[in-house]
Amino acid sequence: VHIKKITVKGFKTFGRKTTISLEKGLTIITGPNGSGKSNIMDAIKFALGELSPRELRGAAISDVIHKSQKASAGSAYVSIQFDNRDRRIPVDSDIVTISREYSGGGEGIYRLNGRKISRKYLMDLLSSANIMATGHNIVPQHSITRIAELSPAERMKIIADLV
């Protein structure tokens, strides 16, 4: 399974709906400081169910809703479309689209292929494919030396948890 595209609207600096198609291999994202690159990272975590505002670099989840001098977006929306031909996500469709829409209060609405779904059920489906908002495959800015700086006991926990 791999990500085919990410759609972001009303999320942080993505005031206008933006769709990014990803390569099966290596996709590079670059640009000036403060342009919104790490915000794309936050969008991925958000769509995968991140609940901690700190992990989204804010004080509250509501901080992800786009605010500008002109207006505040009504809601933050992120969807991730997966190529699921290998059926690693236990859903019977070649294309699996998950989305999350947050407009304040609660956690927001999760959808699977357009239909509302409980967060719990969605997280279970995704974790069968080893897809999680927080994992070693997702390395935020400034975190790359973290694993090297863990205590041996913490590193043992990481490996023991995988096994």
Binding site: T30, G36, I40
Partner: protein, 162 residues
């Protein structure tokens, strides 16, 4: 349980060794603090960078820690395959040579797994199958597809995005 763990541990350590050698030319391995009773000790990452003595990665330099961490993350792949990796500026503290090596490793491993890599460095940018440039206009982010160009010495795509 112990048997499963030890076999997994051996495998991950082996992978780590291969990827570390591929990346640095040196030797790296995972070490059990308490080999008799693994769970009563932790896991150490031992690395011998070329031309240097072996050291525990906790006492390595900033760039060395980044290199070892990337190798460790990729070493887990055989045991807990993840469908994609999302890395945000993991090359920030790498010298030009290590940045180049990292780009090669990512290019190679991207044949088997998907990588989404945020970077400001030209060598990493040139490894991509696709390059997106993000820029801000009136407080709103815009994303454009950038053409692949070798040998950027002009500050690269970041310059053109201003």
């Amino acid at each position: 349980k112990l048997k499963t763990f030890l076999s997994a541990f051996e495998g991950i350590s082996q992978n780590f060794q291969e990827i570390f050698r591929r990346m640095t030319g040196g030797d790296g391995r995972l070490v059990l603090e308490n080999p008799e009773n693994p769970f009563e000790g932790g896991v150490d990452i031992s690395a011998r960078f070329p031309g240097k003595a072996e050291l525990s990665i906790g006492s390595a330099s900033g760039g060395e820690k980044s290199v070892a961490t990337v190798c460790f993350i990729l070493a887990l792949q055989a045991f807990r395959p993840v469908p994609f990796y999302a890395f945000d500026e993991i090359d920030a503290h790498l010298d030009p040579l290590n940045t180049q090596k990292l780009a090669e490793i990512l290019k190679e491993r991207s044949k088997d797994s998907q990588f989404i890599v945020i970077t400001l460095r030209d060598s990493t940018i040139s490894a991509g199958d696709k390059v997106y440039g993000v820029y801000l206009k009136d407080g709103v982010s815009n994303v454009v597809c950038l053409p692949r160009i070798e040998g950027l010495g002009d500050g690269g795509p970041s310059e053109r995005l201003k």
